[in-house]
């Protein structure tokens, strides 16, 4: 019912095959890359399907926005490939299922959508969030994490009802038309994935960093520049909305934070390893985390700021061990406001 809108002709004509050539995990020469990718396009088996670690990066790499990653996920599911062992996948499908307990709670703008991260409720406080409404829960969960499990079907099945719930139980009663996505994976769901699969999105999602930047401008007089160096852990999900990355620099500019140039940032960012671990790729997890953190340490950063809660939980211990304080972006902003 929801089919991926990708144009095979574009892939046919593509000379650079950036999706595979720029991939940090797959090592092929251009000829092989074109060959293997061609198999994907035609729906044949390809070693790309088992080598892919589901880091989402090729969505960013493709200059034609032809959804190479979503294509891989579709093919993986078609071919019965499970990046994560089946029991773990099944358990997650159950764990993240909607509980059906949503109650009407009118949300008036600005609305913060905390998706299904109830443990972060404490972060939604202070001047930045004054006057905001909060919505969260299993019944409005974006489900995009199932890309890592090669289960587009779960997203296709659940997302329409989630969007209905958001409208019916929260936005409509409150007269709201837009909300801020605390985790940019939600943002990517509604601005990248949904359109790619022809799914209508009845509201306007706003990127958290966009919101934070504007709020910080409003509260400029309260800001005390932090004058610190902070390494940014760019998550998989921001590959779906790379046009938002500049907000990191913009926010840092306002709060007196330096984003040191390092190897594993921006387009070359590394997966935190959480998903790699779930895929039982332990050596790769270790390698990624070591490279990434050593890279951060080398810049002299005192903090490591996270966009994604999952990256945060995965790396917070390791980052602390190396003498950096792990912190979520909105908490960093709150720090600058003296909270």
């Amino acid at each position: 019912m929801y089919e991926l809108k990708f144009d095979p002709a574009i892939c046919e004509k593509c000379k650079s095959c950036d999706c595979i050539m720029k991939c940090q995990y797959i090592d092929m020469d251009l000829e092989k890359a074109k060959e293997e990718h061609g198999k994907l396009v035609r729906g044949e088996d390809s070693e790309i399907l088992t080598q892919c670690v589901t880091c989402y990066a090729c969505e960013e790499y493709c200059p034609y926005h032809n959804h190479p990653f979503y294509l891989i996920v579709e093919r993986q599911e078609e071919k019965g490939i499970h990046p994560v062992p089946k029991p773990i996948e099944k358990s997650q499908v159950i764990m993240m299922a909607p509980r059906g307990r949503i109650e009407e709670e009118a949300a008036t703008e600005p609305v913060i959508n905390l998706c299904f991260f109830p443990m972060l409720k404490g972060s939604i406080s202070g001047k930045l969030y004054e006057g905001t409404s909060l919505i969260l829960g299993s019944d409005i969960f974006c489900n995009l994490m199932f890309l890592h499990f090669a289960r587009n079907s779960v997203i296709k099945e659940r997302l329409p009802a989630m969007m209905d719930n958001i409208m019916k139980y929260h936005l409509n009663p409150g007269g709201a038309k837009e909300f801020i996505c605390y985790h940019d994976e939600c943002y990517g769901t509604y601005t990248s994935w949904a359109p790619a699969f022809g799914m209508e999105v009845p509201f306007k999602p706003i990127h958290l960093f966009d919101f934070l930047y504007n709020r910080l401008k409003e509260l400029k007089s309260d800001i005390k520049p932090l004058n610190i160096k902070v390494a940014y852990q760019r998550p998989c999900s921001s590959r779906l909305c790379p046009e938002m990355d500049h907000f990191v620099d913009d926010i840092f500019g306002l709060i007196g934070v330096e984003r040191p140039e390092r190897e594993y940032d921006r387009e070359n960012a590394l997966c935190c390893g959480g998903v790699l671990e779930a895929q039982q790729r332990f050596d790769l997890t270790e390698e990624n985390q070591t490279k990434n953190i050593e890279d951060m340490v080398a810049t002299g950063a005192t903090h490591c700021v996270f966009n994604c809660p999952f990256c945060f939980f995965t790396l917070m211990g390791k980052v602390s061990e190396k003498g950096m304080t792990p912190i979520l972006m909105s908490d960093l902003c709150r720090m600058a406001l003296g909270e």
Binding site: K86, P87, I88, K90, M95, A278, F282, F313, M316
Partner: protein, 461 residues
């Protein structure tokens, strides 16, 4: 004028003997579903000497004695079957010696597991002892008296009774006897090479005498600890997976478990593996070897290691696990009892299926699992059934389910551990007659008047 009371009071002091309604009420029952039975006295001795005098008195007057530690067996083994004295040993809780070089501790019988743990952590942080998953007030001797096991049983040689280096006991006839090397030389380093008498007090549920001191092996306590969880959907693969992990010899505690709640665990089988190491390098190697031992399962995508977020791991790193006591409140009723059966590793799938059948038949919820003991020579498989203490029908149902679980365990080829009186009957009915005969004769020899926890380990007519 209760002369027995007076005589007991002369020995322990009036503050430490009671036949008041309140003490009799409480000491007549435990947390499980077994029938309450009143004692006549509750007595709390403070020394081996006092124990000796009490036992001598009881032997003379033919009053039953039920030694009691933490009373956390849940299967009623500290409930007096025939009245008499419940001997609450928990005042005798001093740690007498820790020999760092020879890795042993000597403690009074009523020493709490948690207190020994805290003592070692403070004074001898390089050493630890194996703790059962019972609450920390469980006692060292109580655990020995029932063949307990714990978090080091997989890697460090088996049941806690296999970690005993010596005992001091008071016989029913009043003698104080030292067993093991301590009987001959000053130190408590082992039971060998003395002819082993300590076995006469281990697993006997207090029917052969009162343990007053225990010599216990200690093990190295590395600074780093991690826990990983393996998940599968195919219970029949569990024995093979366990063998593979056990045989790496890299893990400390290995425990299989299943639970219908939370919903995302229902129908799956999990293995919790704890790993200790002295350095990051060692930890990495141990984890790698464990991972690789089950690589074929991961590659086939049929099973894998579950990533554990820090807030989940923190609880799992504890020994003992507090959430096991939380299980008691699942039915909002503050109660559970379990059948623990010692059985071979390969019996796990059958035991698991039997558990599903039984709980389905009785319509009750459960938690099941198996802790590996002695590098795989056997497991302690448990069927734990929570109940609502305020609902007597529920308790009766659970009692029936427990009985059937005992029967099933034996059918499968396992033996219920620290089991209630009715479970003991099932075991004794199956036991070789010569074995039972020997047990009975030893008891007669040690306890001619039959005062030690009567009703236990004897075939009831």
């Amino acid at each position: 004028m209760d002369t027995i009371y007076e005589k007991i009071a002369d020995i322990v002091g009036t503050n430490y003997v009671s036949n008041a309604a309140e003490e009799l009420y409480l000491y007549s029952r435990d947390q499980g579903v077994q029938q309450a039975r009143l004692p006549d006295y509750v007595v709390m001795p403070n020394s081996t000497e006092e124990v000796q005098k009490i036992v001598a008195l009881a032997n003379e007057e033919k009053i039953p004695i039920v030694p009691m530690g933490g009373a956390l067996v849940l299967s009623g083994l500290t409930i007096p079957q025939k009245g008499g004295i419940v001997l609450d040993m928990k005042r005798m809780n001093h740690i007498l010696e820790v020999n760092e070089k020879s890795h042993y501790a000597v403690v009074e019988a009523g020493t709490a597991q948690g207190m020994l743990q805290a003592y070692l952590k403070k004074h001898h942080p390089k050493l630890k002892h194996s703790v059962p998953d019972a609450p920390p007030v469980a006692t060292i001797a109580g655990n020995i008296a029932i063949h307990g096991s714990g978090h080091l049983s997989q890697s460090e040689g088996g049941f806690h009774t296999e970690m005993v280096t010596g005992l001091e006991v008071v016989l029913a006839t009043g003698e104080v006897v030292k067993l093991g090397s301590c009987s001959t030389v000053p130190k408590w380093f082992s039971r060998a090479p003395i002819p082993d008498l300590a076995g006469l007090f281990m697993g006997w549920n207090g029917t052969t005498g009162v343990i007053t001191k225990v010599g216990l092996k200690l093990f190295p306590s590395p600074k780093l600890k991690d826990v990983i969880m393996f998940m599968t959907e195919d219970v029949d693969s569990i024995p093979d997976i366990l063998f593979k992990i056990i045989d790496t010899e890299m893990a400390e505690d290995i425990a299989f478990f299943v639970s219908p709640k939370p919903a995302y665990f229902d129908g799956f089988q999990l293995i919790m593996i704890s790993v200790v190491a002295n350095s990051e390098k060692e930890m990495k190697l141990r984890l790698e070897l464990i991972h690789e031992s089950v690589r074929e399962y991961m590659d086939s995508k049929e099973a894998g290691f579950l990533p554990l977020p820090p807030y989940m791991k923190v609880k799992l790193l504890d020994a003992p696990q507090k959430n096991l006591s939380e299980f008691a409140d699942i039915m909002k009723g503050g109660g559970f009892e379990y059948v623990g059966a010692i059985m071979p590793v390969e019996s796990i799938p059958e035991a698991y299926r039997a558990g599903l059948e039984i709980t389905s038949k009785y319509g009750i919820t459960y938690s099941m699992g198996a802790r590996v003991v002695g590098r795989g020579s056997c497991v302690m498989f448990y069927y734990a059934y929570p109940f609502n203490r305020a609902d007597s029908e529920n308790m009766k149902t659970v009692a029936k389910a427990l009985e059937e679980s005992n029967e099933k365990a034996l059918e499968i080829g396992g033996i219920p551990w620290k089991t209630e009186i009715s479970g003991q009957q099932l075991i004794l009915n199956r036991m070789e007659p010569e074995t039972y005969k020997m047990m009975t004769e030893i008891r007669k020899l040690l306890d001619p008047n039959g005062i030690m926890n009567p009703g236990n380990w004897e075939v009831q007519s």
